[in-house]
Symmetry: C2
Subunit: 685 residues, 2 copies
Amino acid sequence: MPDANNYKITALLFAALMLACSASAMEVVSPDGRIVFAVNLDADGKPHYSISYGVETVIAESRLGIRFKDHAGVEESMREVAVERRSSDSVWQQPWGERRDVRDHYNELMVKFASAVGPERHFALRVRVHDDGIGFRYEVPEQSYYDEVDIVDELTEFDLPRAATAWWIPGRGWNRYEELYRTTPIDDVSLAHTPVTLRLASGTHISLHEAALIDYSGYMLDQRRPGVFQTNLAPRSDGVRVKARTPFVTPWRTIQISPDAVGLLNSNLILNLNEPNVLGDVSWVEPGKYVGIWWAMHLGINTWGSGAKHGATTANAERYIDFAAENGFDGVLVEGWNTGWDGSWFDNGSVFSFTEPYADFDLQAVSDYARKNGVRLIGHHETSGHVSNYESQMSAAYDLYESLGIRQVKTGYVADGGQMQRVDANGVTHYEWHDAQFAVNHFERVLTEAARRKISINTHEPVKATGLRRTYPNWISREGARGQEYNATWAKPNPPEHNVLLAFTRLLGGPMDFTPGIFDLLHQGPDSGFRVQSTLMHQLALYVVLYSPVQMAADLPENYGRYPDAFEFIVHVPTDWEESIALTGGVGDYVAFARKERDGDDWYLGAITDEEPRAISIPLDFLDAGRDYVATIYRDGDNADWKTSPYDYVIEERQLDHSTSLELLLAAGGGAAIRFRPAEKAEQQ
Amino acid sequence: MPDANNYKITALLFAALMLACSASAMEVVSPDGRIVFAVNLDADGKPHYSISYGVETVIAESRLGIRFKDHAGVEESMREVAVERRSSDSVWQQPWGERRDVRDHYNELMVKFASAVGPERHFALRVRVHDDGIGFRYEVPEQSYYDEVDIVDELTEFDLPRAATAWWIPGRGWNRYEELYRTTPIDDVSLAHTPVTLRLASGTHISLHEAALIDYSGYMLDQRRPGVFQTNLAPRSDGVRVKARTPFVTPWRTIQISPDAVGLLNSNLILNLNEPNVLGDVSWVEPGKYVGIWWAMHLGINTWGSGAKHGATTANAERYIDFAAENGFDGVLVEGWNTGWDGSWFDNGSVFSFTEPYADFDLQAVSDYARKNGVRLIGHHETSGHVSNYESQMSAAYDLYESLGIRQVKTGYVADGGQMQRVDANGVTHYEWHDAQFAVNHFERVLTEAARRKISINTHEPVKATGLRRTYPNWISREGARGQEYNATWAKPNPPEHNVLLAFTRLLGGPMDFTPGIFDLLHQGPDSGFRVQSTLMHQLALYVVLYSPVQMAADLPENYGRYPDAFEFIVHVPTDWEESIALTGGVGDYVAFARKERDGDDWYLGAITDEEPRAISIPLDFLDAGRDYVATIYRDGDNADWKTSPYDYVIEERQLDHSTSLELLLAAGGGAAIRFRPAEKAEQQ
């Protein structure tokens, strides 16, 4: 907690400073004084903003505003009618997360605008400036000129420095986000899904995204003219971007700012801008590790559909349950348990039943067997994006799972045609983007329905993560990027840099169910072109690097028996943390995290590199001072290389303390994973 | 003309062949048999098509269909109800153009579909397969289920080979198309404006575009999933893509196919797919060359607005008229003649009057002076995209120009905010994309209004060219790409490859008012960063390479006096052609064209290269056999280089005939321009 007295003095000084400034510029400054957000109106009454960071302009004068279909918008001919200021410094707790305590410290400016000419219109811009970045949103109150409005464009612009490197995925398809990240000059970014991460010429790193995407459409960053990006909202199936009714607020438009790359990873901005938990007691939301009948389908060993290779049989599920119980895993996912998988389900989700198991899968028996063994079955609902079919069965499906004691469901929205399907009352099918308002609202309906049955949701092919896990802690994880499945048999595998890039882009939005831990890296043989492009140690490190409260051990159980000493790390690593610290890294190059387990004293460290081998030096000052630790180090061997020697690894124990600086050698495509136990406790084990 | 008997036999054989095939596959084959277009329905009644070229698959099985907002679309649950076949071989004439006679030879297939289940729906797919490519369009007849429909998506997909190089500009901003072309693997194309040109691994070149964009929205090529592109129609301001009323037809979706790069340049596909001239006698549409008060504004020597540097003064206009008359130019453009240029006109076109000249510009006197000197004033209407302001004055503005004998107007739609403005009856402003239905229809209204006064239109910041010059021959040219103005003082200049790329991309749509002929290449000094990145000879070659019926000599008159021998080429070169032949080239590398003047015997040749110097060998077999020609060759000197010696050039005369193969050395950023005169006529001169 911050020193309360100190804080008050700062706040007073700050308020005085603000009063002095506000007449001219409507500025608001971060608590540490480095970030300045300025709002102004030009001669035509067009609202603009700009952002500076120290002496650097991060966002030059950029437009603000919203356009409506049948009404005058709030974009020009406006005047300022009121300015409100507020400061806040508080700490809130995550029921689960990468850290328990989250400090939320910001200065807030709210500027209320009204029309200067034309129909009477009102809106406000609320800005929160934290030390780690900015969020601002539009707030449209009740007013006489309109109540229901169709938003056809949001004008929020970001006039970014022209000399910058961007890491991004293209906005094509508005679906899935399953793309390799591009590293390009900013000028080559056309339409990109957020988060988009940028390194400015000064070395300052920023990331553009949004927080609290509720009852609105997600935006893509659209370079409308050189250097000037705009929020391009995903359209609804009727072409309107958002249907709104006053009063409403938009999601927060966020700009994380950091002097270095890892600063972005230590930011809580997105979470802080979301509303607190609305579900009350969420002790039933259970982080943990799981295995499942899944990778075998991607390898072609099993099928989702029925027949000789059907994966979801009672016997096979019980085999996985045995493996989970033996190794202390919490859950077993079974995909392909329900009828509907035998046709072209990829683009026709109407075939799925969410209550009827295949004949060779005894759902009741399997879930009973799981619970008897201290494991829970994880439910699975692949919808193929046919939302109408899913919503018509949703209550019954969750009731069924609740009755079986199932606490977590992995949902899927593959929709190979690109869009979700919604059938209206007239039987007409409409196609909705995964990140447009309909889908956003569907996901919220799912969370609410599931929460009533104490069920958590792990969404695959989801809308992007915008921190809603704070508000709905049962949104326990999601996909939303190119995960491990791309290393199976049907795609060009993820290159070594991919996992590093995920940490600096996708993961800024929130947890990802990447499904790490493939041990059979050359599953199709060394010359097949299909393989995992990492060392074995890199796979271990991912459990620490790519945060998710639910982590899969994704490989076939039999493959873990080949490297039992390495598997030990997966058995031990927690998925819920007291604290997390991004220690060092460069976007797309390498990254290292330290995380402390919740309700315990152990620390874990994960470090991964791209295709370049690297030596990194990590001061262990995150460890408790004055305490000795036994570190079990899982590291690449001297000849390790993802291409030629992915299994060259060393597991060694060392005594270390917080004054030590640890030298880690990471092989090409390699990584390191470390478990630190206080020495006194390690001896007890 | 083709041999009629031969043709009939081929057609009969062909019809027989088709009957044999149609039961299984609904195929249609190009007259030369190389291109095969196949239509089929999958098990769900989804229409698909594919295209092969010899043994090569150019477009794999790809979806077809249209989705409507409130009605079931024509995309699935369809059945085939009728197939009609037709062949046609005809020649039509262009009133002006790159060639007089255009052969239009194709086999046509029309497949009529009706709903198999659901509401009764009908549509047809009309396919025309030429030897140089394919056009297909949807035709939606009157039917009981709907008359007015809102199109929310057009499903036309293009499943393209994954191993291809693409030349493209990003679809950002949906405006202006003023971008540098990208050369990338096809996978890196996200959203691109058409034409998009591709080289497949086999060496086959294709280009995707559209023809006859009327009462519809333009599409961008959107890579929805890897390798699979879809027509992404520009939305109207209300979010709907197109508002249609049955019966209607869509623009043709075109795929030009050629074994080599230059084959694309010799294709007439786009023109052939447009409807014939609807304006009747268009002898008043006058190709020609012009100068104008324009470049001086881009250099900052003059201003559009009033004041000491105002360019459009009576005296200055008369100076340009004198220069035009002395050198045989046809027109003089005067920009900044009308009131409105003194504020922030860039994003507020409502300021412009189209009838009120500035006080220092005597419109009547200038136009009289021009006509007295055998020159016509060229009108100028910069709208800044404020269409409502323009349309409210359009009739009066054209009446004024007609009364002054003005035959051509350059229009402009800068709209720096990115979109056109339309004010509705309630005073609400709507923002419309330059390539969406409203703009498309606006441009058609302009052409119709102008044609009534025998006025031709040269549109800047236009919708893309889709061959409508055939239907409206008064649409004499347009911009729609990064032109010469980018080589002035306010942008990163066009790199040497840009002009070569234009020929293989933008120019496939139709003529471009690039405004070549800058002679003061280093106008801001050698170290300013602002300059023209070409040799002087490259500037000459552009008059032949980048076809437009109206060509500007864009530089200040005084600059032509510094190289009078080179200027001679511009004085002689025609802008209207009997025939044009793309001789050789590689996309983005180099290109050479030969063109024969209309109503004369002279041939002209233009060749340009990118940043690489090149030796190219050109057989002169396009010249009349048995005739001697005097060639005046304007070529780069031995030490020429755009960077270091752009003015090293040689002008030489040679006797040549059609058996000669000419070796041309093109410097880095260089070019060559040649005038071939029959020897007997050259002697007379």
